[in-house]
Protein backbone atom coordinates (compact mmCIF):
# COMPACT_ATOMS: atom_id res chain seq x y z
CA UNK A 1 0.00 0.00 0.00
CA UNK A 2 1.21 3.50 -0.81
CA UNK A 3 2.07 5.82 1.99
CA UNK A 4 -0.20 8.80 2.46
CA UNK A 5 2.54 11.05 1.16
CA UNK A 6 3.04 9.31 -2.19
CA UNK A 7 -0.68 8.83 -2.64
CA UNK A 8 -1.33 12.51 -2.00
CA UNK A 9 1.40 13.48 -4.44
CA UNK A 10 -0.12 11.23 -7.08
CA UNK A 11 -3.52 12.70 -6.32
CA UNK A 12 -2.23 16.20 -6.94
CA UNK A 13 -0.69 15.04 -10.20
CA UNK A 14 -4.00 13.47 -11.19
CA UNK A 15 -5.81 16.74 -10.49
CA UNK A 16 -3.37 18.92 -12.36
CA UNK A 17 -3.04 16.56 -15.31
CA UNK A 18 -6.69 17.24 -16.13
CA UNK A 19 -7.76 13.60 -15.82
CA UNK A 20 -11.04 13.45 -17.73
CA UNK A 21 -12.87 10.95 -15.58
CA UNK A 22 -11.97 12.81 -12.43
CA UNK A 23 -13.08 16.20 -13.70
CA UNK A 24 -16.28 14.84 -15.15
CA UNK A 25 -17.16 13.46 -11.71
CA UNK A 26 -16.49 16.87 -10.20
CA UNK A 27 -18.55 18.63 -12.85
CA UNK A 28 -21.42 16.17 -12.39
CA UNK A 29 -21.43 16.81 -8.64
CA UNK A 30 -21.56 20.54 -9.17
CA UNK A 31 -24.32 20.27 -11.72
CA UNK A 32 -26.53 18.07 -9.57
CA UNK A 33 -26.05 20.15 -6.42
CA UNK A 34 -26.48 23.48 -8.22
CA UNK A 35 -29.70 22.26 -9.79
CA UNK A 36 -31.10 21.11 -6.46
CA UNK A 37 -30.12 24.40 -4.87
CA UNK A 38 -31.63 26.56 -7.62
CA UNK A 39 -34.85 24.57 -7.53
CA UNK A 40 -35.12 24.94 -3.76
CA UNK A 41 -34.24 28.60 -3.55
CA UNK A 42 -37.47 30.34 -4.70
CA UNK A 43 -39.69 28.24 -2.46
CA UNK A 44 -37.30 28.55 0.49
CA UNK A 45 -37.05 32.34 0.16
CA UNK A 46 -40.79 32.66 0.00
CA UNK A 47 -41.29 30.34 2.99
CA UNK A 48 -38.61 32.12 5.03
CA UNK A 49 -40.19 35.46 4.21
CA UNK A 50 -43.68 34.24 5.08
CA UNK A 51 -42.51 32.83 8.40
CA UNK A 52 -40.75 36.07 9.30
CA UNK A 53 -43.42 38.55 8.26
CA UNK A 54 -46.75 36.84 8.56
CA UNK A 55 -48.41 35.40 11.63
CA UNK A 56 -50.84 32.65 10.81
CA UNK A 57 -52.30 29.59 12.55
CA UNK A 58 -49.83 26.71 12.59
CA UNK A 59 -46.86 29.07 12.31
CA UNK A 60 -44.98 27.49 15.20
CA UNK A 61 -45.77 24.02 13.86
CA UNK A 62 -44.17 24.85 10.51
CA UNK A 63 -41.07 26.23 12.21
CA UNK A 64 -40.81 23.13 14.40
CA UNK A 65 -41.34 20.82 11.44
CA UNK A 66 -38.68 22.61 9.47
CA UNK A 67 -36.22 22.41 12.35
CA UNK A 68 -36.95 18.70 12.62
CA UNK A 69 -36.22 18.21 8.91
CA UNK A 70 -32.89 19.92 9.51
CA UNK A 71 -31.94 17.09 11.84
CA UNK A 72 -33.06 14.17 9.67
CA UNK A 73 -30.00 12.07 8.71
CA UNK A 74 -29.39 12.02 4.99
CA UNK A 75 -29.43 8.23 4.84
CA UNK A 76 -33.00 8.32 6.13
CA UNK A 77 -33.95 10.72 3.34
CA UNK A 78 -32.16 8.33 0.99
CA UNK A 79 -33.99 5.30 2.30
CA UNK A 80 -37.42 6.91 2.09
CA UNK A 81 -36.73 8.19 -1.42
CA UNK A 82 -35.41 4.80 -2.47
CA UNK A 83 -38.57 3.06 -1.31
CA UNK A 84 -40.77 5.67 -2.98
CA UNK A 85 -38.89 5.68 -6.28
CA UNK A 86 -38.25 1.95 -6.64
CA UNK A 87 -40.27 0.53 -9.53
CA UNK A 88 -42.15 -1.49 -6.96
CA UNK A 89 -42.77 1.65 -4.93
CA UNK A 90 -45.62 4.17 -5.20
CA UNK A 91 -43.68 6.49 -7.51
CA UNK A 92 -42.02 3.71 -9.49
CA UNK A 93 -43.75 4.70 -12.73
CA UNK A 94 -41.69 7.87 -12.83
CA UNK A 95 -38.65 5.64 -13.34
CA UNK A 96 -36.42 7.98 -11.43
CA UNK A 97 -34.44 5.60 -9.22
CA UNK A 98 -30.70 5.60 -9.96
CA UNK A 99 -30.86 8.80 -11.96
CA UNK A 100 -29.67 12.37 -11.58
CA UNK A 101 -33.20 13.67 -10.99
CA UNK A 102 -33.48 11.26 -8.05
CA UNK A 103 -30.29 12.67 -6.54
CA UNK A 104 -31.53 16.18 -7.21
CA UNK A 105 -34.78 15.46 -5.37
CA UNK A 106 -32.80 14.11 -2.43
CA UNK A 107 -30.52 17.15 -2.31
CA UNK A 108 -33.49 19.45 -2.80
CA UNK A 109 -35.06 17.91 0.31
CA UNK A 110 -31.80 18.35 2.19
CA UNK A 111 -31.13 21.97 1.34
CA UNK A 112 -34.71 23.21 1.60
CA UNK A 113 -34.94 23.19 5.43
CA UNK A 114 -31.53 24.87 5.77
CA UNK A 115 -32.49 27.58 3.32
CA UNK A 116 -35.86 28.11 4.98
CA UNK A 117 -34.40 28.27 8.48
CA UNK A 118 -31.61 30.64 7.48
CA UNK A 119 -33.72 32.91 5.31
CA UNK A 120 -36.30 33.00 8.10
CA UNK A 121 -33.59 34.26 10.45
CA UNK A 122 -32.29 36.68 7.84
CA UNK A 123 -35.69 38.23 7.19
CA UNK A 124 -36.31 38.48 10.92
CA UNK A 125 -33.47 40.99 11.10
CA UNK A 126 -35.68 43.39 9.16
CA UNK A 127 -38.31 45.28 11.11
CA UNK A 128 -41.75 43.89 10.55
CA UNK A 129 -42.95 47.40 9.78
CA UNK A 130 -40.83 47.37 6.64
CA UNK A 131 -43.48 45.36 4.85
CA UNK A 132 -46.29 47.80 5.73
CA UNK A 133 -44.05 50.74 4.89
CA UNK A 134 -43.18 49.49 1.42
CA UNK A 135 -46.80 48.53 0.82
CA UNK A 136 -48.07 51.92 1.98
CA UNK A 137 -45.63 53.53 -0.42
CA UNK A 138 -47.69 51.90 -3.11
CA UNK A 139 -45.25 49.20 -4.11
CA UNK A 140 -46.65 45.90 -5.34
CA UNK A 141 -46.28 42.82 -3.15
CA UNK A 142 -43.58 41.36 -5.37
CA UNK A 143 -41.69 44.61 -5.47
CA UNK A 144 -41.86 44.88 -1.68
CA UNK A 145 -40.62 41.32 -1.29
CA UNK A 146 -37.78 42.07 -3.69
CA UNK A 147 -36.75 45.25 -1.86
CA UNK A 148 -36.69 43.50 1.50
CA UNK A 149 -34.79 40.57 0.01
CA UNK A 150 -32.18 42.97 -1.33
CA UNK A 151 -31.73 44.33 2.19
CA UNK A 152 -30.74 40.90 3.52
CA UNK A 153 -28.95 39.63 0.42
CA UNK A 154 -25.67 38.98 2.18
CA UNK A 155 -27.21 36.79 4.85
CA UNK A 156 -29.14 34.95 2.16
CA UNK A 157 -25.99 34.39 0.12
CA UNK A 158 -24.34 32.93 3.19
CA UNK A 159 -27.32 30.60 3.58
CA UNK A 160 -27.10 29.51 -0.06
CA UNK A 161 -23.40 28.78 0.25
CA UNK A 162 -23.83 26.76 3.43
CA UNK A 163 -26.66 24.77 1.87
CA UNK A 164 -24.55 24.08 -1.20
CA UNK A 165 -21.69 22.95 1.01
CA UNK A 166 -23.95 20.53 2.78
CA UNK A 167 -25.50 18.88 -0.26
CA UNK A 168 -22.37 18.54 -2.36
CA UNK A 169 -20.58 16.85 0.55
CA UNK A 170 -23.42 14.42 1.21
CA UNK A 171 -22.85 10.74 0.50
CA UNK A 172 -25.58 8.54 2.02
CA UNK A 173 -28.54 9.67 -0.01
CA UNK A 174 -26.56 10.12 -3.23
CA UNK A 175 -25.32 6.54 -2.97
CA UNK A 176 -28.75 5.07 -2.27
CA UNK A 177 -30.86 6.83 -4.87
CA UNK A 178 -28.09 7.55 -7.38
CA UNK A 179 -26.47 4.13 -7.29
CA UNK A 180 -22.96 5.40 -8.07
CA UNK A 181 -23.26 4.59 -11.79
CA UNK A 182 -20.08 5.56 -13.62
CA UNK A 183 -20.53 8.68 -15.74
CA UNK A 184 -24.16 8.98 -14.77
CA UNK A 185 -24.68 9.25 -11.04
CA UNK A 186 -21.16 8.99 -9.69
CA UNK A 187 -20.48 12.08 -7.61
CA UNK A 188 -17.42 13.24 -5.73
CA UNK A 189 -18.52 11.60 -2.50
CA UNK A 190 -19.78 8.30 -3.89
CA UNK A 191 -16.63 8.01 -5.99
CA UNK A 192 -14.52 8.46 -2.85
CA UNK A 193 -16.52 5.72 -1.13
CA UNK A 194 -16.09 3.39 -4.12
CA UNK A 195 -12.41 4.03 -4.68
CA UNK A 196 -11.66 3.50 -1.00
CA UNK A 197 -13.57 0.22 -1.04
CA UNK A 198 -11.45 -0.84 -4.01
CA UNK A 199 -8.30 0.12 -2.19
CA UNK A 200 -7.51 2.75 -4.84
CA UNK A 201 -6.82 5.75 -2.67
CA UNK A 202 -5.29 8.15 -5.18
CA UNK A 203 -8.51 9.17 -6.88
CA UNK A 204 -10.24 9.27 -3.51
CA UNK A 205 -7.64 11.64 -2.14
CA UNK A 206 -7.80 13.84 -5.26
CA UNK A 207 -11.56 14.19 -4.88
CA UNK A 208 -11.15 14.74 -1.15
CA UNK A 209 -8.80 17.62 -1.90
CA UNK A 210 -11.42 19.13 -4.20
CA UNK A 211 -14.02 18.95 -1.43
CA UNK A 212 -11.60 20.45 1.10
CA UNK A 213 -10.68 23.34 -1.16
CA UNK A 214 -14.34 23.85 -1.92
CA UNK A 215 -15.21 23.93 1.80
CA UNK A 216 -12.46 26.47 2.38
CA UNK A 217 -13.57 28.73 -0.47
CA UNK A 218 -17.23 28.49 0.55
CA UNK A 219 -16.44 29.37 4.14
CA UNK A 220 -14.29 32.32 3.08
CA UNK A 221 -17.25 33.53 1.06
CA UNK A 222 -19.61 33.02 3.99
CA UNK A 223 -17.28 35.02 6.21
CA UNK A 224 -17.12 37.77 3.61
CA UNK A 225 -20.89 37.96 3.21
CA UNK A 226 -21.49 37.78 6.95
CA UNK A 227 -19.12 40.72 7.37
CA UNK A 228 -21.06 42.61 4.76
CA UNK A 229 -24.35 41.66 6.35
CA UNK A 230 -23.19 43.00 9.73
CA UNK A 231 -21.93 46.22 8.15
CA UNK A 232 -25.16 46.52 6.20
CA UNK A 233 -27.31 46.28 9.30
CA UNK A 234 -25.07 48.81 11.11
CA UNK A 235 -26.03 51.44 8.58
Amino acid sequence: MDSIGTATLQALQLLTSGDRELWSIIWLSFRVSMTALLLALPLALFAGFALAFWRFPGHWLLVTLNNTLLAVPTVVIGLVLFLLLSRSGPLGDLRLLFSQPAMIIGQWLMCLPILIAMSHTAYQAISRHAWETTRSLGLSRLRSLWLITLEVRFSLLAAVILAFGRIIAEVGCAMMVGGNIAGHTRTITTAIALETSRGAYVQGIALGIVLLVLALVLNLLVGYFRGNAVQGSAH
Partner: protein
Protein backbone atom coordinates in the same frame (compact mmCIF):
# COMPACT_ATOMS: atom_id res chain seq x y z
CA UNK B 1 -38.39 42.33 -11.53
CA UNK B 2 -38.63 39.14 -9.55
CA UNK B 3 -40.26 36.86 -12.06
CA UNK B 4 -37.66 37.01 -14.81
CA UNK B 5 -34.87 36.14 -12.42
CA UNK B 6 -36.67 33.27 -10.80
CA UNK B 7 -37.89 31.81 -14.04
CA UNK B 8 -34.40 32.10 -15.40
CA UNK B 9 -33.14 30.13 -12.41
CA UNK B 10 -35.85 27.54 -12.92
CA UNK B 11 -35.07 27.26 -16.61
CA UNK B 12 -31.42 26.80 -15.77
CA UNK B 13 -32.31 24.10 -13.31
CA UNK B 14 -34.51 22.29 -15.78
CA UNK B 15 -31.83 22.53 -18.44
CA UNK B 16 -29.48 20.75 -16.07
CA UNK B 17 -31.97 18.00 -15.40
CA UNK B 18 -33.33 17.48 -18.86
CA UNK B 19 -30.20 16.27 -20.56
CA UNK B 20 -30.28 13.19 -18.38
CA UNK B 21 -34.00 12.57 -18.91
CA UNK B 22 -34.05 12.86 -22.67
CA UNK B 23 -31.27 10.38 -23.41
CA UNK B 24 -32.29 6.90 -24.59
CA UNK B 25 -32.95 4.19 -22.06
CA UNK B 26 -29.80 2.37 -21.02
CA UNK B 27 -29.58 -1.27 -20.02
CA UNK B 28 -29.31 -1.51 -16.26
CA UNK B 29 -27.22 -4.30 -14.81
CA UNK B 30 -26.98 -5.08 -11.13
CA UNK B 31 -23.88 -7.04 -10.38
CA UNK B 32 -21.74 -8.06 -7.50
CA UNK B 33 -18.85 -6.06 -6.20
CA UNK B 34 -16.57 -8.95 -7.22
CA UNK B 35 -17.19 -8.57 -10.96
CA UNK B 36 -17.06 -4.81 -10.76
CA UNK B 37 -14.14 -4.25 -8.42
CA UNK B 38 -12.01 -6.67 -10.41
CA UNK B 39 -12.36 -4.33 -13.39
CA UNK B 40 -13.96 -6.98 -15.63
CA UNK B 41 -17.02 -4.91 -16.51
CA UNK B 42 -15.03 -1.76 -17.14
CA UNK B 43 -13.16 -3.84 -19.70
CA UNK B 44 -16.12 -5.73 -21.23
CA UNK B 45 -18.92 -3.20 -21.42
CA UNK B 46 -17.21 -0.46 -23.45
CA UNK B 47 -16.64 -3.16 -26.11
CA UNK B 48 -20.34 -4.03 -26.08
CA UNK B 49 -21.35 -0.37 -26.24
CA UNK B 50 -18.98 0.22 -29.14
CA UNK B 51 -20.27 -2.77 -31.10
CA UNK B 52 -23.98 -2.16 -30.55
CA UNK B 53 -24.33 1.55 -29.81
CA UNK B 54 -26.36 0.65 -26.72
CA UNK B 55 -25.65 2.11 -23.32
CA UNK B 56 -25.15 0.10 -20.15
CA UNK B 57 -25.29 1.30 -16.57
CA UNK B 58 -23.82 -0.81 -13.82
CA UNK B 59 -24.91 -0.94 -10.21
CA UNK B 60 -22.27 -2.62 -8.15
CA UNK B 61 -23.86 -4.13 -5.05
CA UNK B 62 -23.89 -7.41 -3.13
CA UNK B 63 -25.61 -10.45 -4.67
CA UNK B 64 -28.52 -10.10 -2.24
CA UNK B 65 -29.19 -6.51 -3.21
CA UNK B 66 -28.63 -7.25 -6.89
CA UNK B 67 -31.32 -9.91 -6.83
CA UNK B 68 -33.59 -7.62 -4.84
CA UNK B 69 -33.18 -4.84 -7.39
CA UNK B 70 -34.13 -7.39 -10.06
CA UNK B 71 -37.13 -8.53 -8.08
CA UNK B 72 -38.33 -4.93 -7.76
CA UNK B 73 -37.79 -4.24 -11.44
CA UNK B 74 -35.16 -1.59 -10.81
CA UNK B 75 -32.67 -3.28 -13.14
CA UNK B 76 -33.02 -5.27 -16.37
CA UNK B 77 -30.33 -7.87 -15.84
CA UNK B 78 -28.40 -9.39 -12.95
CA UNK B 79 -24.97 -11.03 -12.91
CA UNK B 80 -24.49 -12.86 -9.63
CA UNK B 81 -22.73 -15.81 -8.05
CA UNK B 82 -24.95 -17.43 -5.44
CA UNK B 83 -26.42 -20.59 -7.00
CA UNK B 84 -29.04 -21.22 -4.32
CA UNK B 85 -30.30 -17.66 -4.17
CA UNK B 86 -30.37 -17.54 -7.98
CA UNK B 87 -32.38 -20.74 -8.15
CA UNK B 88 -34.96 -19.27 -5.78
CA UNK B 89 -34.94 -16.03 -7.78
CA UNK B 90 -35.88 -17.90 -10.96
CA UNK B 91 -38.28 -20.27 -9.24
CA UNK B 92 -40.24 -17.39 -7.75
CA UNK B 93 -40.55 -15.93 -11.22
CA UNK B 94 -38.42 -12.84 -10.63
CA UNK B 95 -35.92 -13.86 -13.27
CA UNK B 96 -36.07 -15.83 -16.50
CA UNK B 97 -33.71 -17.82 -18.63
CA UNK B 98 -30.63 -18.06 -16.38
CA UNK B 99 -27.38 -18.78 -18.20
CA UNK B 100 -24.03 -19.82 -16.88
CA UNK B 101 -21.59 -17.04 -17.74
CA UNK B 102 -18.22 -17.82 -16.26
CA UNK B 103 -16.54 -19.12 -13.17
CA UNK B 104 -13.56 -18.59 -11.02
CA UNK B 105 -12.93 -19.78 -7.50
CA UNK B 106 -12.87 -18.69 -3.92
CA UNK B 107 -9.66 -18.66 -1.97
CA UNK B 108 -8.75 -18.35 1.66
CA UNK B 109 -6.38 -15.46 2.19
CA UNK B 110 -4.53 -14.47 5.31
CA UNK B 111 -1.51 -12.82 6.85
CA UNK B 112 1.99 -13.25 5.55
CA UNK B 113 3.58 -15.35 7.03
CA UNK B 114 0.75 -17.70 7.85
CA UNK B 115 1.15 -18.77 11.47
CA UNK B 116 -1.43 -21.54 11.05
CA UNK B 117 0.27 -23.16 8.03
CA UNK B 118 -3.10 -23.65 6.42
CA UNK B 119 -1.57 -24.86 3.15
CA UNK B 120 -1.12 -28.15 4.97
CA UNK B 121 -4.86 -28.40 5.60
CA UNK B 122 -6.70 -31.37 4.13
CA UNK B 123 -9.39 -29.29 2.58
CA UNK B 124 -11.09 -25.96 3.05
CA UNK B 125 -13.25 -27.37 5.87
CA UNK B 126 -10.15 -28.48 7.72
CA UNK B 127 -8.58 -25.04 7.23
CA UNK B 128 -11.64 -23.33 8.68
CA UNK B 129 -11.62 -25.76 11.58
CA UNK B 130 -8.02 -24.78 12.36
CA UNK B 131 -8.94 -21.10 12.32
CA UNK B 132 -11.86 -21.84 14.61
CA UNK B 133 -9.83 -23.93 17.03
CA UNK B 134 -6.98 -21.40 17.28
CA UNK B 135 -9.41 -18.48 17.51
CA UNK B 136 -7.53 -16.73 14.71
CA UNK B 137 -8.85 -13.39 13.51
CA UNK B 138 -11.33 -13.93 10.68
CA UNK B 139 -13.24 -11.26 8.86
CA UNK B 140 -16.50 -12.22 7.27
CA UNK B 141 -18.39 -10.25 4.63
CA UNK B 142 -21.50 -10.58 6.77
CA UNK B 143 -23.64 -9.12 4.00
CA UNK B 144 -25.95 -10.82 1.56
CA UNK B 145 -23.25 -11.53 -0.99
CA UNK B 146 -22.46 -14.69 -2.90
CA UNK B 147 -19.14 -14.90 -1.10
CA UNK B 148 -20.85 -14.71 2.28
CA UNK B 149 -23.36 -17.36 1.23
CA UNK B 150 -20.45 -19.58 0.29
CA UNK B 151 -18.76 -18.93 3.62
CA UNK B 152 -21.91 -19.79 5.55
CA UNK B 153 -22.29 -22.98 3.54
CA UNK B 154 -18.71 -23.97 4.35
CA UNK B 155 -19.11 -23.33 8.07
CA UNK B 156 -22.31 -25.32 8.05
CA UNK B 157 -20.66 -28.25 6.35
CA UNK B 158 -17.75 -28.13 8.77
CA UNK B 159 -20.24 -28.58 11.61
CA UNK B 160 -18.80 -25.55 13.40
CA UNK B 161 -20.50 -22.33 14.31
CA UNK B 162 -18.51 -19.19 13.47
CA UNK B 163 -18.92 -17.89 17.00
CA UNK B 164 -15.31 -17.64 18.13
CA UNK B 165 -14.46 -14.29 19.61
CA UNK B 166 -12.19 -13.10 16.80
CA UNK B 167 -14.73 -13.82 14.07
CA UNK B 168 -16.06 -10.50 12.86
CA UNK B 169 -18.88 -9.98 10.37
CA UNK B 170 -18.44 -6.49 8.97
CA UNK B 171 -21.18 -6.13 6.36
CA UNK B 172 -18.96 -4.63 3.65
CA UNK B 173 -17.99 -5.34 0.07
CA UNK B 174 -15.11 -7.63 -0.93
CA UNK B 175 -12.62 -4.83 -1.50
CA UNK B 176 -13.22 -3.28 1.88
CA UNK B 177 -13.09 -6.65 3.61
CA UNK B 178 -9.70 -7.36 2.04
CA UNK B 179 -8.45 -3.97 3.17
CA UNK B 180 -9.73 -4.60 6.70
CA UNK B 181 -8.21 -8.07 6.78
CA UNK B 182 -4.93 -6.57 5.66
CA UNK B 183 -5.03 -3.97 8.42
CA UNK B 184 -6.02 -6.49 11.09
CA UNK B 185 -3.84 -9.35 9.78
CA UNK B 186 -6.91 -11.53 9.60
CA UNK B 187 -8.06 -14.44 7.45
CA UNK B 188 -10.94 -14.08 5.05
CA UNK B 189 -12.67 -15.90 2.23
CA UNK B 190 -12.33 -13.98 -1.02
CA UNK B 191 -13.17 -14.44 -4.66
CA UNK B 192 -10.07 -14.78 -6.76
CA UNK B 193 -11.03 -11.94 -9.09
CA UNK B 194 -11.08 -9.25 -6.44
CA UNK B 195 -7.99 -10.74 -4.82
CA UNK B 196 -5.95 -10.59 -8.01
CA UNK B 197 -7.11 -7.06 -8.68
CA UNK B 198 -6.09 -5.89 -5.22
CA UNK B 199 -3.27 -8.20 -4.25
CA UNK B 200 -0.48 -5.75 -5.09
CA UNK B 201 -1.78 -3.36 -2.46
CA UNK B 202 -2.06 -5.97 0.28
CA UNK B 203 0.49 -7.60 2.57
CA UNK B 204 -1.38 -10.88 2.42
CA UNK B 205 -1.19 -14.22 0.67
CA UNK B 206 -3.37 -17.10 -0.42
CA UNK B 207 -3.27 -19.55 2.47
CA UNK B 208 -5.55 -22.19 1.00
CA UNK B 209 -6.92 -22.79 -2.49
CA UNK B 210 -8.26 -25.45 -4.81
CA UNK B 211 -10.90 -28.11 -4.75
CA UNK B 212 -14.47 -28.34 -5.94
CA UNK B 213 -15.73 -26.91 -2.64
CA UNK B 214 -14.39 -23.51 -3.63
CA UNK B 215 -15.85 -23.24 -7.12
CA UNK B 216 -17.52 -19.91 -7.85
CA UNK B 217 -19.92 -19.94 -10.81
CA UNK B 218 -21.48 -16.72 -12.16
CA UNK B 219 -24.85 -16.63 -13.84
CA UNK B 220 -26.49 -13.95 -15.92
CA UNK B 221 -30.27 -13.74 -15.44
CA UNK B 222 -32.83 -11.58 -17.20
CA UNK B 223 -35.40 -9.91 -14.99
CA UNK B 224 -38.86 -11.27 -15.78
CA UNK B 225 -40.45 -8.87 -18.31
CA UNK B 226 -43.90 -10.21 -17.42
CA UNK B 227 -43.54 -8.81 -13.93
CA UNK B 228 -42.45 -5.30 -14.82
CA UNK B 229 -43.62 -3.50 -17.91
CA UNK B 230 -41.04 -0.76 -17.78
CA UNK B 231 -38.00 -2.98 -18.24
CA UNK B 232 -35.59 -2.52 -21.09
CA UNK B 233 -35.91 -6.22 -21.79
CA UNK B 234 -34.99 -6.33 -25.48
CA UNK B 235 -31.68 -4.57 -25.06
CA UNK B 236 -30.91 -6.43 -21.83
CA UNK B 237 -31.38 -9.63 -23.82
CA UNK B 238 -28.94 -8.34 -26.44
CA UNK B 239 -26.38 -7.77 -23.73
CA UNK B 240 -26.99 -11.20 -22.25
CA UNK B 241 -26.65 -12.84 -25.67
CA UNK B 242 -23.48 -10.91 -26.33
CA UNK B 243 -21.98 -11.95 -23.00
CA UNK B 244 -22.55 -15.65 -23.65
CA UNK B 245 -21.59 -15.41 -27.34
CA UNK B 246 -18.16 -16.61 -28.50
CA UNK B 247 -17.12 -12.95 -28.75
CA UNK B 248 -18.11 -12.12 -25.16
CA UNK B 249 -16.67 -15.36 -23.85
CA UNK B 250 -13.32 -14.87 -25.53
CA UNK B 251 -13.10 -11.35 -24.14
CA UNK B 252 -13.81 -12.72 -20.66
CA UNK B 253 -11.11 -15.37 -21.12
CA UNK B 254 -8.65 -12.73 -22.28
CA UNK B 255 -9.12 -10.52 -19.25
CA UNK B 256 -6.00 -10.73 -17.15
CA UNK B 257 -4.44 -8.87 -14.29
CA UNK B 258 -0.68 -9.05 -14.03
CA UNK B 259 -0.73 -11.89 -16.52
CA UNK B 260 -3.20 -14.01 -14.64
CA UNK B 261 -6.61 -14.95 -16.03
CA UNK B 262 -9.41 -13.95 -13.63
CA UNK B 263 -12.52 -15.55 -15.08
CA UNK B 264 -13.17 -18.60 -17.25
CA UNK B 265 -16.09 -18.38 -19.65
CA UNK B 266 -18.37 -21.39 -19.36
CA UNK B 267 -21.42 -20.43 -21.39
CA UNK B 268 -22.75 -23.26 -23.52
Amino acid sequence: MVYPIKSLLLALGLAFVSNSILAADPVRVATTTSTYNSGLLDYLLPEFEKETGLRVQVLSVGTGQALRLGQDGDVDLVITHAPEAEEAFVELGHGVDPRGLMYNDYILVGPRPDRLNLYEAEGILDALEKIHRRNAPFISRGDDSGTYNKEKELWERSGLKPNFSRYQAVGQGMGRVLIMSNELQAYTLADRGTWLAMQSRLKMQIVYEGGIDLANPYQVILVNPARHTSLNHQEAKKLRDWLVSPRGQSLINNFTIEGEQLFFGDAE
